[in-house]
């Protein structure tokens, strides 16, 4: 018969199974007369298993994490630093040098903002674009989502057709839309190609029309999914109480779907100075209208030299400082509009 000490040693060495958990490396000895201590947990299968799982999870996450650090964090840090630099070709030493220039790029941007009519126009295009998407795109998407949610005639057909532009690559849709508007429509109506022959606002309007259509599907999908979560019993109760569809929309559907709508409104606002309306797909680097998002993209698109990057970075950074408070204020205001209705 083993004595207690031997049995404890065997437990510690994992040779014998124990029916009670052992918490620490210290051994419990009742007969040896030693000090009472906690049992050290053995590195048995369970702990090894846990460690193994953790190692596995971190290995799986490592690649995307490294990619995130390199492609997002490092890139943005570099963009931030770029705004305070200037690049110059040094053909004596055959190098491209970067120098710290402090706030020089920012001074240039704010000077242009004050003096350059073109820069002012770019911001105007961005605001017009955002307002139009908000008034037409978002509002129509919400109304149309309600239509789909109520399963009115043609719901299945609309779900499919609205999804198609979302599924197909955006450049393909742009090319299709361009060919219809600039090729087929003029032939049918005997007019000049409307996107390129009219005023700048006309060009922007036609481009936005296409983009609203392209983005309609994804918005409709999200809003109608939010609406679909509304309990059926609530709707039936409202019907029994004599609630019309219009009243139901404003009093039940909209408040309950509001959190989703608010999210999209906030993200849309954050894209105010980023949205380039697919203009590069329509016009390449030479668009008659250039919202600030498109302008910045073209500055660094294919063929751009490193010498242009610092200024583009400066403009982007300046606009970020402007956008952040706008988004935060907007969020506060939108939160206030939330009636707090819950399922």
């Amino acid at each position: 018969m083993k004595d207690m000490q031997t049995e404890q040693d065997e437990l510690l060495q994992g040779k014998t199974e124990t029916s009670f958990p052992v918490a620490s490396s210290e051994s419990v000895s009742s007969q040896a007369g030693g000090v009472l201590t906690r049992q050290k947990p053995r590195k048995n299968g369970m702990n090894r298993k846990r460690i193994g799982e953790l190692v596995f999870y971190w290995c799986v996450l490592a690649i995307p994490l490294i990619q995130f650090v390199l492609m997002y964090v490092a890139v943005n840090i570099n963009s931030f630093l770029l705004a305070f630099k200037e690049y110059e070709y040094d053909m004596v030493n055959e190098t491209l040098n970067s120098d710290w220039v402090g706030l020089k790029n920012f001074k240039r941007f704010f000077t242009e903002l004050a003096q350059d009519k073109l820069m002012g126009e770019r911001f105007l295009y961005s605001f017009v674009s955002y307002a139009t998407h908000l008034a037409c795109g978002t509002v129509l998407a919400i109304l149309f989502s309600y239509y789909l949610y109520k399963k009115y005639p043609g719901t299945g057909f609309f779900r499919v057709t609205l999804m198609i532009p979302t599924v197909i690559s955006s450049i393909v849709v742009v090319i299709l839309y361009n060919n219809v508007v600039e090729g087929i429509v003029p032939k049918i109506f005997g007019i000049d190609a409307p996107m390129r022959s009219g005023s700048k606002m006309q060009t922007l309007a036609i481009v936005m029309l296409g983009n609203i259509f392209m983005g309609f599907g994804s918005g409709t999908l999200m809003y109608s999914n939010a609406m679909a979560r509304i309990p059926e019993s609530l709707v039936e109760y409202a019907k029994l109480e004599g609630c019309t569809p219009t009243r139901e929309f404003f009093s039940i559907t909209l408040p309950l779907a509001y959190p989703t709508i608010e999210t999209f409104l906030i993200t849309g606002l954050a894209n105010l100075f980023v949205n380039q309306e697919n203009l590069y797909g329509y016009f390449g680097k030479i668009s008659p209208v250039d919202p600030i998002g498109y302008y910045l993209f073209v500055q660094v698109a294919d063929g751009a030299h490193m010498t242009k990057y610092p200024y583009a970075s400066t403009v982007g950074l300046s606009l970020t400082f402007v956008t952040i408070p706008i988004v935060m204020v907007a969020r506060k205001l939108l939160d206030k509009l939330d009636k707090g209705a819950e399922f």
Binding site: Q67, T95, D116, A193
Partner: protein, 567 residues
Amino acid sequence: MKKLAKILSIAFAATMAASAFAGCGGMGRDKVGTGKPVDVTKSQLKVSNYEGGYGRAWLDEAALRFEEKYKDYEFEPGKKGVQVHVDSAKDGKAGETFLSGVTSTDFHVIVTDDVFYYDVVTKKIAADITDIVMTETLSDYGENVTIESKMDDALKSFFKTGQNKYYALPHYEHFYCITYDRDLFNEKGLWISETGTYVKPNKEGKFTVALSKGPDNLPNTYDDGLPATYDEFFALCKEMADNKGVTPFTCSGQYISMVTAMMSQLWADYEGKEEFQKIFSFETPMEVIDTLSGNGTMNAQGKYSTTKTVESFTSENAWEGYNQAGKAAALEFAKRMVSDSDFYHSNMFSNDIDNIRAQGNYLISSLENKPVAFLVDGVWWENEAEDAGTYGLLEAEYDNAGRKDRNFALLPLPKATAAQLGEKRTMAVDVNSLMFINAAYNNNENALKMAKEFMQFLHTDDELQNFSVTTSALKPFNYSIPTEKMTGMSTFGKDVVSTRSNTHCETVYSVSNHSFYVNNVDYFHPAEAFRCTDGQDPIDLFKKNPSWTVKTVFEKIQDYRKTLRFN
């Protein structure tokens, strides 16, 4: 189930991890699939070619000649001769994106376009070729000169770095022009006589009256009978439209910026080589327009009274370098082009007419008795029309409609006024296309030697001539093409290449090593030269706003350029 989930997770993670290494391909990753069977007893030379505008035939033929010349030569131990593989395309062979991936390919020689030489140098993309350009003569080919000695001074100063090294050579001359139809001129009697009447040759092709001297103001030269001044030119346009049933102009509406780029030719021709070069070199003193008076048109002597002299350029006033009088003269020309709607084709401003369709419309116009006299396009337009099959289609439908049957020519641009007659014909040329050796071979002596030999070969007089004969284009080097070599060329091609041997013609290269040019090169693109706050193309602005004067647009351009910051 858990095990399966784990295995799948590992598999997906491994796939993700593998994709992260996609960009790490090294030598040999980009196999040249030219379809040519590889002869392992010979050294292999791989060439990447951008074939937009000029095709690949010139390079394929040169490659065959190179292979023949070096069929017994050992570029590397154990291999006799060389096989040249040409990988040629329009897509993915030009631009900065292509440039950034060059050193990870196994191409030895790169022939590309739309790249900036200083990017090639500072990013260490090209091998040092100073020895074959500056030091070694082309004695192996019977020429006791270096490649450098064939280069214009402006090109030498641009391409030679501060370390006295060369890393690339300019590839082809690139400019926009006005093409005219000589057959149409003969048929409709559009030649201008000495007395100012419009005449045509007799059945034997001879003129019974003396023709006007043309812009060079010399009798019995290539430009006799062509309009010499802006006034003569637009009087001819009026005659075409009113009495001859000919539409003067057409161009691609989608690329109307070609007219803008052509206006740089008018500008250069007005200023002359020395003065026009200054807008890139920022050499002073420079005469510029201060303000324009009246509606901004020139006086009878072709001058603008309100000029000033810039003695030095700083980053604050660098924009003034673009205020030369030649720019105002070009604006006047553009305004007059659209001053009468009968002067241009109804399609000229249609955005669905690309360059290929515009060329087709031009080529078919006289065949269908709705003739158009002038096409504004790049000097490579005939190659494009041929590659697109336009000439082939027309040949199948009409008699004498092939490229070699037609008689198009490069219009020598008229002078602003009679006061400028006799001045040299100045042609402004861009140099965005380059030829260089892949820096990836810097440590491979044999491969480097082979590539350098090929580059030297391509810059012998013979091969420069062959390039011009095949492409109807010129390379930016000093060489002439013997008449006997031109026999297979089209009339237009002959006319283009003959400007090289014409002592009355001079070429100004739109490059400089001044820091204002180098660090702001995008501001100097020909299509950017006339950009203003309302748009990029003056001809479009004048058409949409007929009340706008030259002064209006000139000031708008000034306002825009004032906002540019020069590093």
